[in-house]
């Protein structure tokens, strides 16, 4: 057992993994406490030290896993996820990178990769994405086309909502979610009374597409349960049928052999007879 195997045994040990989960949970709490100004004033130093120590633990853990698995480490997408999150925490958060400071809290998401049950849930969610992709693309196309039309039609009437393509895309996203769309529609209709045609058609089509996006997700979730059950039952039924067919076939073959033997037996005395 060389070093590498020993390190691998260590990082795959249950105790070690439970320890990491605890560190992640404690880190989540300290990051939460850091948002309170009172806590930062009173215990700022301690919180900062604790944060650094826990980051150190994550770095060591990642280093051990990298050492144990070498390049195979990057084949598992969850490992890449862990790697990226820890690297983000290591980039000095100063100057233009100060937004990364807020991204430090992403470290808490390591709970997903550390707890197998969570991993399964996220994998299940991601499995629904391909089914949504084409309807999502269609929805994007619909919004884009509607946005170009709306910018040309209503750009002059209410530049606040339809001034340029970006603004219009945002407004149409808002309209799609159904929030306060009558305010927008009535403002436009005050100048262009026929604008109701655009709004009603757009709302009907976009909500229909969104509904189908939901259905795609539900169906892909259902497929794995209901359909697979049904298909399994069907498969079982077919297997039973095949077994009984085999039985019938064997029986018929035996019957044929029986008849053939009977024929042979009947033929024999005739053949032995003196004359024909």
């Amino acid at each position: 057992m060389n070093h590498r195997d020993r390190v691998r045994a260590l990082v795959e040990h249950r105790r070690f993994q439970q320890f990491i989960i605890w560190v992640i949970v404690v880190n989540a709490v300290t990051l939460g406490l850091e948002t309170s100004q009172r806590m930062v004033r009173d215990f700022g130093g301690a919180l900062h030290v604790a944060d650094r120590v826990m980051l150190g633990i994550f770095v060591v853990e990642l280093g051990l896993r990298l050492y144990a698995f070498r390049w195979r480490f990057f084949r598992d997408s969850w490992n890449v996820f862990d790697f990226v999150i820890v690297v983000i925490a290591l980039i000095p958060a100063t100057g233009p990178f100060s937004v990364l400071r807020a991204l430090r809290v992403l470290r808490v998401l390591r709970l997903i990769s550390a707890v197998p049950a969570m991993r399964r849930v996220v994998n299940g969610l991601l499995a629904a994405v391909p089914g949504m992709a084409s309807i999502g693309a269609l929805l994007g196309l619909i919004i884009y086309v509607a946005a170009v039309m709306a910018t040309k039609l209503f750009g002059q009437i209410s530049p606040r909502y339809f001034g340029d393509l970006g603004t219009t895309l945002f407004t149409l996203f808002q309209t799609m979610t159904g929030e306060a769309w009558p305010d927008i529609a009535r403002e436009v209709m005050a100048a262009a009374p026929l604008a109701w045609i655009f709004f009603v058609i757009y709302i009907l089509i976009s909500s229909f597409a969104v509904l189908n996006l939901f259905i795609a997700v539900i169906v892909s979730g259902m497929e794995k349960t209901v359909t697979s059950d049904l298909v399994q039952a069907e498969e079982q039924h077919a297997a039973d049928q095949a077994a009984s067919d085999q039985l019938i076939l064997a029986e018929v073959r035996a019957l044929r052999r029986e008849v053939a033997e009977l024929r042979e037996e009947r033929k024999e005395p005739v053949n032995e007879g003196p004359a024909r």
Binding site: S134, L230, D245, L249, V252, V259
Partner: protein
């Protein structure tokens, strides 16, 4: 007549070639971008004429593509609804957009929707969506009926009270569509109820009935979507098993036939002996 046949076949082969279809898809995407840029006044001020030329050029390519497809397929071209869709979308762009038809100018962007007919996976999605429509039709017409009846009632009841929302039938219908989507309906209701306190009856009943109808519309779509996916999966499994079943049935049948032949032989032998 026979002299045009090879040309027709050539045109059909050309429009069905993958490279050609990819070129058309790339052009549609390019056209989508130029149409998007045309909405920016700054871009129009600087590159307006260039954008216009590019737009005309892509439109010309689309017209040539459509003509080739029409030439290649003959009248069969009109049998495919997607071809008619393409024809309409391109036709709109060709109508001179002047005077009262200036709104057609903005409909030019519908050309981008040709992406749906050009990309097979999008086509499938839209066909799937449209497959849900017949199931919705009866519930949708019921919903329209409910809105119309409520619109007539509301115009008569509240037309004098809140002309902004219920001044005439068209306005009422739009307001009722808004109430059905659930957006800002209390604003409308409270304005009316300030003068007609019993108006809550109308609003509550209308909202209950219309949301119930909308819910059923959703359910119709959901059910048809699920049915499709479950049934196709089941049908696939069924088909797979049916083939195996047919094979084993053939074996049994063969065996039974041989048995029957054997028995017939036996009978012939017996009858030859008995007399």
């Amino acid at each position: 007549m026979s002299g045009t046949a090879p040309a027709r076949a050539w045109a059909r082969a050309l429009v069905e070639r993958r490279g050609f279809q990819r070129l058309v898809i790339a052009l549609i995407v390019f056209n989508a971008v130029t149409l998007g840029l045309e909405t920016s006044q700054r871009m129009m001020a600087e590159y307006g004429s260039l954008l216009h030329v590019l737009d005309r050029a892509t439109l010309a390519v689309f017209v040539v593509e459509l003509l080739l497809r029409f030439y290649g397929n003959g009248w069969r071209f009109f049998r495919d609804p997607w071809s008619i869709f393409d024809l309409l979308v391109i036709g709109i762009a060709l109508v001179p957009a002047a005077g009262p038809l200036s709104v057609l100018r903005t409909l030019r962007v519908l050309r981008v929707l040709r992406l749906v007919s050009a990309v097979p996976s999008m086509r499938r999605v839209v066909s799937g969506l449209l497959a849900a429509v017949p199931g919705m039709a009866s519930v949708a017409s019921l919903l329209a009926l409910v809105i119309f009846v409520a619109g007539v009632m509301a115009t008569k009841l509240f037309g004098g009270i809140a002309p902004v929302y219920f001044g005439d039938l068209g306005t009422s219908l739009f307001t009722l569509f808004q109430i059905m989507t659930g957006e800002a309906w209390p604003d409308v209701a409270r304005e009316v109820m300030a003068q007609a306190p019993l108006a809550w009856i109308f609003f509550v009943v209308y909202i209950l009935v219309s949301s119930f109808a909308v819910l059923n519309l959703f359910i119709a779509v959901v059910v048809s979507g699920m049915e499709d996916s479950v049934t196709t999966d089941l049908a696939e499994a069924e088909e797979r098993n049916a083939a195996a079943q047919a094979r084993s049935d053939a074996l049994i049948l063969e065996e039974v036939r041989a048995l029957r032949a054997e028995v017939a032989e036996l009978r012939r032998e017996t009858s030859r002996e008995s007399p």
